[in-house]
Subunit: 206 residues, 2 copies
DNA sequence: TAAATTTGCTAACGAACGTTAGGTTGCTTA
DNA sequence: TAAGCAACCTAACGTTCGTTAGCAAATTTA
């Protein structure tokens, strides 16, 4: 079932693809018009300005990310569990909107004030959600991490690189990506933990 | 001891700062001239084109990264050791050239052919160096990782976010950043490995 | 069927773009 | 002291930029 897009949504979608591949500034309204098969001036029957498109893409994605993390935290769980679900939710949003995500992550600096400032404060709020999960995990001994802010940034930066290589037809599904990422970030690369656990776990039998 | 910069190097440095903060396309030659206190046309006494500046920044940084990884692999060591040193080397290059690194990582797509293709193949070669370290660690049991390419990308994406927040006057030194990153990436967030090791290590006494 | 809305057009606006041509100044070197 | 060079200037080029005005056709709504 294909969604029927309004002309405005078609413009937004086409612009998003161009903004991702060429960047916002290097994409002209004539480029966009050409991709749509119409004249540049015609676009202005549907939008107010070039920047309006960027605003819509950025803040729609912001809303998606917040809805995802809200859903994660609506359910109870320890820090490990919540972090796993937060990662999976973030990966889901990213992989379901690869182009818009790329624009969201890379082109926001071309927003003018006050949107630019709004964007930054939203981003900080979102990062704070991850920081809080990590902090609670540190407090109850689930996590051992040198710096909670540093850990949150490192996790998010791993996640936010996905859009550069993810292809829906690729061999990893979003769920597998989330699982592999979680595995790496929670347990690290070294084999010894699992080995240690395998070796000694019989000592822990009740 | 301050390095004495030629005019061309001053232009490159100023342009790098502008390219980082506004992006290559959104930075005009008149912006650059204004930052230098001269007229736009005067810049062309020193450079051939706007893109030449971008090329120099990108490929100078590429050279820096390769020299760093070459130095890492000139010394012997197991995979864990080499990965630690590769991370530290990468962080060093990044933190010593924050602005050029940002341009290198974000603005390369504005290179025209054949430079664009050259850049991509260099980037792949560099990533392959990390993949090889990870693969050798997988083969001898040092690392347990779902996919070597995936692991390399995840590690590099964590590293490549640093330039967005690193400040030389901040509380973390490059060495501390590298150490914390290595700790997180090798051991993960969960506390259990060290705890397990602490708990059971007496069993391993020879 | 009349009115309203959607979608597009041509023509053009002033501003900004990267770049070139040609010339001037002042310092450095032979 | 003459030649060479580095650094910068003014003026201007052709092009592209985002955007507006005004109008026309088709489709939807009342």
């Amino acid at each position: 079932m294909e969604a029927v897009l309004s002309r405005k949504e078609q413009i937004e979608k086409t612009a998003t693809a161009l903004f991702k591949s060429k960047g916002f500034s290097a994409t002209s309204m004539r480029d966009l018009a050409n991709a749509l098969g119409i004249e540049a001036a015609s676009i202005y029957s549907h939008i107010k300005s070039k920047e309006e498109i960027l605003q819509r893409v950025c803040f729609n994605m912001a809303r998606e990310f917040f809805e995802a993390i809200d859903a994660v935290e609506a359910k109870e769980g320890n820090a490990t569990d919540r972090l796993k679900r937060a990662i999976a939710a973030h990966v889901n949003v990213l992989t379901q909107n690869t182009e818009a995500s790329a624009v969201f992550l890379h082109e926001w600096r071309h927003l003018s004030e006050p949107m630019h400032g709004t964007y930054l404060s939203l981003r900080d709020k979102y990062e704070a959600r991850f920081r809080e999960i990590i902090r609670s995990g540190m407090n109850n001994g689930e996590f051992t991490v040198p710096d909670e802010k540093f850990a949150a940034l490192t996790i998010l930066s791993s996640l936010n690189w996905i859009h550069t290589w993810y292809k829906p037809e690729g061999k990893m599904t979003p769920a597998e990506i989330a699982h592999n990422l979680t595995e790496m970030l929670l347990n690290g690369l070294t084999s010894s933990k699992q080995a240690l656990h395998d070796t000694y776990s019989h000592l822990n039998t009740p």
